[in-house]
Symmetry: C2
Subunit: 178 residues, 2 copies
């Protein structure tokens, strides 16, 4: 996936980037096409040549990869990161953090919990009813002693409006080549 | 991992949550302990009973899971999400987006690119030199026609200072139970 996220589309570009055997690369690319992350298109008739383009599903997988890199860089790279994200313009290193698009608040486990969604099965719904009850209770009981948390929440509210209203699709909707 | 991220620590809680055979669960928990995501502690001497606590590495894996859920909910759940993140206090549904902690800007592929880090091998460094050259060039050439991008960038700069200065550790540093 990584070479595709770098903007590469051609077999030889993938091969140069990954440095793996052609048959292995063919198998991997086919798996990604079957999974719906890449789509194959012919760019030359004679000889027949194919390119592999990220689908919307493939482009949307980028945050998962970025989150994994951030995790790996922190826990498996005592000598420093070998791959990171940089600002294309300023070249400043990015420090990835997951936030809620609307509120801008970091999705940490103190403020946000997993819960059953609208399409949850009856079993999932019951399970989360129990889990959430415990979590909501934990928040109630911990309130009086967590003065610093309140301070964080106040600070957080100041950028509630900033990310709000951004076009949802626009974050992943453009190719790397701009 | 999910039950641990829900705040569960005991074998029977994991089993109830996952609904899998005990030998399978034992194997999975051992694998997570070996991988460093959970640590095992005895909470009862007679009978011997163990609990499984998230390590820092395990807690830090949460954004990867959240990013995966967001991706899955979007692409594999036409009937709606079955599991999502909600604000513990307001119960509002979260819409996860990866941003740079310092600038608050979404880490989309138009603004942020992968690059070799300080500990990159010579090979990785050379590879990204080529990749980035192509990407920086793409940005240069696309500049005149991307007026809307400039507008986005101006808007983005208004919340540059908001996430800045937050304590890096604090986002994952507390257990779900508060």
């Amino acid at each position: 996936m990584l070479p595709a996220l770098h903007g590469f589309t051609r077999f030889d570009e993938f091969q140069k980037s990954l440095n793996i055997a052609p048959n292995m690369l063919t198998r991997r690319l086919s798996a990604l096409v079957d999974a719906g992350l890449l789509r194959r298109g012919r760019y030359s008739e004679r000889p027949p040549r194919y390119e592999y383009i990220l689908t919307e599903m493939g482009r949307d997988f980028r945050p998962v990869i970025v989150a994994m890199f951030a995790w790996g860089n922190k826990h498996f790279a005592p000598e420093g990161a070998s791959v990171l994200l940089i600002d294309r313009k300023t070249r400043a290193k990015a420090d990835p953090v997951l936030v809620d698009r609307k509120s801008g608040r970091p999705l940490n486990e103190r403020d946000y919990v997993f819960a059953a969604g609208p399409a949850a099965s009856e079993r999932t719904r019951r399970r989360y009813a129990v889990i959430n009850q415990k979590q909501f209770a934990a928040q109630q009981s911990s309130k009086p002693v967590r003065g610093s948390l309140q301070g964080r929440k106040r600070r957080a509210s100041c950028y509630r409006s900033t990310i709000q209203g951004r076009n949802r699709r626009s974050d992943h909707g453009a190719a790397a080549s701009g």
